[in-house]
Symmetry: D2
Subunit: 243 residues, 4 copies
Amino acid sequence: MIRITVWNEYVHERTEQKIAEVYPEGIHAAIAEFLGKEEDFEVRTATLDDENCGITKEVLAETDVLIWWGHIAHDRVPDEIAYLVRDAVLEGMGLICLHSAHHSKPFRYLLGTSCNLTWRESDDEEILWVIEPSHPITRGIDRYFKLSHEETYGEPFVIPTPDKLLLIGHYSGGEVFRSGCLYERGNGKIFYLQPGHESYPTFRVPEIQMLIRNAIRYLAPAYRQVTACPHVRKITDNAPYVI
Amino acid sequence: MIRITVWNEYVHERTEQKIAEVYPEGIHAAIAEFLGKEEDFEVRTATLDDENCGITKEVLAETDVLIWWGHIAHDRVPDEIAYLVRDAVLEGMGLICLHSAHHSKPFRYLLGTSCNLTWRESDDEEILWVIEPSHPITRGIDRYFKLSHEETYGEPFVIPTPDKLLLIGHYSGGEVFRSGCLYERGNGKIFYLQPGHESYPTFRVPEIQMLIRNAIRYLAPAYRQVTACPHVRKITDNAPYVI
Amino acid sequence: MIRITVWNEYVHERTEQKIAEVYPEGIHAAIAEFLGKEEDFEVRTATLDDENCGITKEVLAETDVLIWWGHIAHDRVPDEIAYLVRDAVLEGMGLICLHSAHHSKPFRYLLGTSCNLTWRESDDEEILWVIEPSHPITRGIDRYFKLSHEETYGEPFVIPTPDKLLLIGHYSGGEVFRSGCLYERGNGKIFYLQPGHESYPTFRVPEIQMLIRNAIRYLAPAYRQVTACPHVRKITDNAPYVI
Amino acid sequence: MIRITVWNEYVHERTEQKIAEVYPEGIHAAIAEFLGKEEDFEVRTATLDDENCGITKEVLAETDVLIWWGHIAHDRVPDEIAYLVRDAVLEGMGLICLHSAHHSKPFRYLLGTSCNLTWRESDDEEILWVIEPSHPITRGIDRYFKLSHEETYGEPFVIPTPDKLLLIGHYSGGEVFRSGCLYERGNGKIFYLQPGHESYPTFRVPEIQMLIRNAIRYLAPAYRQVTACPHVRKITDNAPYVI
């Protein structure tokens, strides 16, 4: 059983009529719905307005993969919560950051850069191209797939060079973007997936759902352990190495 | 003084009227022409029909950066010549592979993969986006520039993950491509630049010329040495380490 | 079932008494023996003196992971055989290169560099340190383990920067070495493991056996496909993309 | 002229007699002294007790490369100061973190991981091996050099895979360590160098001085610019791209 927590700031859907029509129960509910159909997935959700944002040390200890969606309320997530997420990833937990979560605290604190990008809302069509066809995350996706409308994200995207670049997006307005980026940090893995703007039903697109399912199975840790900073003995001391 | 050798198979330009009109003296001459305007560059050219393809151990020893263009005659370059180029790169020489040189022997032998890609000739417009604005190779290039027509290259491009991805191309036909890829191999550096199809005047575009000039200056070695496989002594032996 | 082929040049063991005492049936037999105890492994062996070195397109098509040991007879492996191995890896087959196979044709042709290193036979003790404790290949290995004697390999090791560095070796004579290096090339993965000199019973050490078992399970492909160089249509053409 | 600021927490040298004997004027003064002999270097120092730790936006704007040494007072550097350093690096400033600065705020905030390691003070001898002999930072260093005593640092070192691993340390107590690690983040570069414990005269060793001088020249930016997150127009709009 892979234990998944879907986190959503859940602001747009409750304050803007147009967004509510796309995701009436919230983006987290839409994601949890299609994930809930998998027999090996156990899904719960959490949102900004939950106590402690729904993120505690205990919740993270029971989460194999955390999915994060946020946009206009990144700053309302306390640093302490973001540090808990960061530390859980370094311990082994998987983290999937969706779309505007490029600017979320957990993503920025783990990558260390500004994660800035260029952007435009102009109903561009996006074509997503698979760069690594044999990777477990892109398995089952054809050479490319289309999203009829997405928010345009453009380069430069101020991130560390991804450990593996899996997808590049092509926008009808002329931009390109590193749309699927994989990182390993500490004992954990992080996957950034660019599509998922609140005003389009992107999370109902079969290929997007497949990418998220694949990523969950790839990021779920077999091993989870804090790698501390121990004082050690000489290995010739005939005593435990770590003091 | 940076010593540059521009190698071109020089077949299309002598056998196809349409290509001859674009590059009457050959692609190598067009490249040598704009490079020759730089005071710190010393440029010579070599082509497939020269004796030994114009590539000998001596020529490579006096070449800081080798530029390579080839397309339909890759197989007519003897393996021995390709190995000389490979070994010169491992020693420190810079290598710039242009466009269809993705399938050239020197490039494939140095990268080890098939370097396959998808392709189409359909007069697509290409927009090239800078991914790393602070890199010496992209210095002076704006966020993007356009080529009114280029051959379309598409992913997957079967290369090792580039040490640094500098440019991504966006084609009006829908494709994207990793158009500027930097590698370090042994003591040398390799830059792959995708634009440069024989039927378009790409090498007359100012930004393409700037990228090639920048790449030459970045790839020119300060150090050149064969890293051999020496039998060594214990470092406590009070004798030279390498036997 | 993971199908494994263990290839060994099998020269030392038949020509040197001292080596024959360590590996009377050959290194390949010693490796096949401990691998044969795994229920999910199906193991066969091949050696230099077999017809076609025991390596044909058919054998490779039925091999999920190929293990390669060679030392003094690298040149007796025909290029055609090495190319078959290379192409199978690009298609998805896993390749584990052991010890002196750093200079084998399949390894060099896939990595493109000289793979030179410094070396000494002086019965050094080696301590192998785990750099990535959460990686599937190092799973189950403690922080370090010792080999009472190994051939000393030293830096610089002329390889492309590994996609992931898993182990570093520490020799009592003073050297260090990147002893466990992971690469992805095309659709396949390559693991280089430094220990395994013919004159020491390294392949009987439990941690070495565990690393090889782990690597086999990590490298076994779920997907295997030639990524060709197709001529493609415009994606708007309402016809199959690949021509 | 390359403008260098050497930052030191300057606590050990003022509170421990033994350390004061090694660096009577402080580690920053010892570093500034040998750097001051270079004609193209302009050096200033700053310490924890200076107003604002001696680090303001103005100071960083006039600093090409910042050198950082800290150990027991990392937490006394306010987050705001660490963020200024981080942002200056993303803009293009070079950052050299020495020894125990692996746990400094600027280093951890830029890399995102815990930067934990194992450690022991046991007067081990350290041998430092050059992994990349052609890199500008290791230029002039032989295959290896020795430090008669250094604090032992051991793996796992919880850092992102370095963009380039330049040095590996070998300790007489048995450990190994990734002792020279290069990163690119945003428009800036970061170099981590492991030697430099407060109780040994490491910064008086010629090879250490050479590595630091080389690193300064390699990290000094030719270009410095904030890469922001601009709202952009369609590139067909015949208006400035960035709104």
